[in-house]
């Protein structure tokens, strides 16, 4: 019996059973965003960076912290090299008088999910979400090895890009992609990122040939196939119903949001796909024909290809106009930044409907999808 196939089927069956329960949710929208990414953050520390971004986010719509009903953040002690690192960053919010607040040790996109849930209860109308990471302070590839099964895998210290390379080879050898296709993704990222001040690795005129001639650094991946690690942070304000309309001319309404997780054991999963990404998108109601844009969070070009397939993205959809994580990847914030990127293009009126995606864990283990709309 094909076990991997069976796992995927079970996962999907569970999701469909869930989907039959329809629910009407309160209208909640992104009304303000601010983000910053740079190769190495040196002029300010994380607390000052976040104080700047949070102030910018609040000031641009004229709200004070006292008017925010709930605050939720995402960060990682392991990334910071400090226990309780988020306690320091609470300074950047201005938490006096006291605030209703929570923290997830996850990407900020999951903090946004928690805030969205809180707004669904109906007791508060606004929420501030933020997350940040400063991977330049340590060796992220060693740090990420500590995410893995602590008995069988972590003691071998496999780095995150090597694991992603195992996945890329499977795609190549099963004929699901080609080197050229991967380089096209890398080129898309560098070209798109050119106009994004937060993108770190960008180029206006790099050719496919240049990219395909880059040396292989994590077999079979080339330099441009893997994400450019960057420091940074992101702040987002959510508001419900009339409050959203009063704060923002064109709020980016959250039409659906969902997240799912796959097995952790790499040898159990079919690494050429990501059932949890598919399921999260289904549950969020992706309706791929109507997506103007998508911001997807992959650590490699190959992962972006897997995600495009799981989300059934077509040529109609502009993918990673920001350059995506390949152009600047800030662990703990990359996912929230994807949401901010889609939301800002909707709020500006440039686009109508988009999909934002965040991932966590090795080889796309955990995935969140958020569908945003201008109407």
């Amino acid at each position: 019996m094909n076990l991997q196939f069976l796992s995927k089927k079970l996962v999907i069956a569970h999701g469909i059973e869930q989907m039959n329960k329809t629910n009407s949710f309160r209208d909640v929208a992104v009304v303000s965003v601010a983000s910053h990414q740079t190769k190495i953050l040196s002029e300010v520390n994380e607390v000052q960076l976040m104080a700047n971004l949070i102030s910018k986010c609040r000031n641009s719509i004229g709200v004070t912290q006292e008017e925010i009903g709930f605050t939720c953040s995402g960060s990682s002690d392991f990334l910071a090299g400090q226990a309780f690192s988020f306690v320091h960053t609470l300074d950047s919010v201005g938490a006096f008088p006291p605030i209703s607040e929570s923290h997830v040790e996850m990407d900020g996109a999951f903090a946004l999910y928690e805030a969205w849930v809180k707004l669904q209860i109906g007791e508060v109308d606004t929420a501030l979400v933020y997350s940040y990471g400063k991977p330049s302070a340590g060796s992220i590839i060693d740090v990420l090895a500590t995410q893995l099964d602590p008995y069988y895998v972590a003691p071998l210290w496999p780095d995150c890009f090597s694991l992603a390379a195992l996945q890329a080879r499977l795609l190549l050898e099963k004929g699901l992609t080609t080197f050229e296709r991967m380089s096209e993704i890398a080129m898309r990222s560098q070209n798109n990122g050119f106009d994004n001040p937060n993108a770190v690795r960008t180029s206006k005129d790099i050719s496919l040939e240049n990219l395909m001639n880059e040396p292989v650094i994590v077999d079979p991946l080339r330099t441009s196939d893997i994400s450019e690690i960057a420091d940074g942070g992101c702040a987002v304000i959510l508001a419900a119903e009339d409050k959203a309309k009063s704060l923002c001319e064109r709020p980016a309404w959250i039409k659906g949001i969902d997240h799912r997780i796959d097995s952790h054991s790499l040898g159990v999963r079919d690494l050429t796909g990501s059932p949890s990404a598919f399921l999260a998108a289904e549950k969020a109601g992706r309706n791929s024909d109507r997506l103007d844009l998508a911001e997807i969070h992959g650590m490699t070009s190959a992962q972006e290809l897997i995600l495009e397939k799981e989300f059934s993205l077509s040529e109609k959809t502009h993918i990673n106009l920001s350059g995506g994580a390949l152009a600047a990847d800030t662990m703990m914030a990359s996912g929230l930044i994807r949401i901010a990127e889609v939301a800002s293009r909707i709020m500006s009126g440039q686009m109508d409907r988009g999909l934002a995606h965040a991932t966590s864990g090795p080889c796309l283990q955990q995935n969140l999808v958020c569908i945003l709309e201008g109407k």
């Binding site: 069988y152 195992l166 080879r169 040898g267 159990v268």
Partner: protein, 153 residues
Amino acid sequence: MSELEKPLRAELTVEYPFTRTTGKVIGAFMTGLREKRLFGIKRSDGSILVPPLEYDPVSSEPLTEMVEVSQNGIVETWTWIDPPRPQSPWDTPHALALIRLDGSDTSMLHAVLVDSPSDMRTGMRVTANWKEERIGHIADLEGFVKETKEADS
């Protein structure tokens, strides 16, 4: 830049020799490694999971029946590690691979010890190579090497 303007910086080391208690299933697998044996665990559909978990990785139901599996298997996918990370068990370049052992329905992550990436291919047959001194640790397996039968043929 003068000495005065150079930013102050310090190395911060977070270090601990974690000791993890294993429980019965992982403990049995580690005991097997010490004895140069590889064990898996049977799922409810009869398929075999290597390395074994205490629970089904999809349904979470407890698993109880451990079975021995072959020390030979095939490479399902691989990459090349050069140089190895400072704390990894290896100090020379090697392949990192997902290996499906004969008798197992899932694959495990470990090293394949060959000289260069040109010696690697997906689907190649490999066999376990053991360290002389074994303590019951995933690195008791030095890695996998090319199966000699295949080399002969």
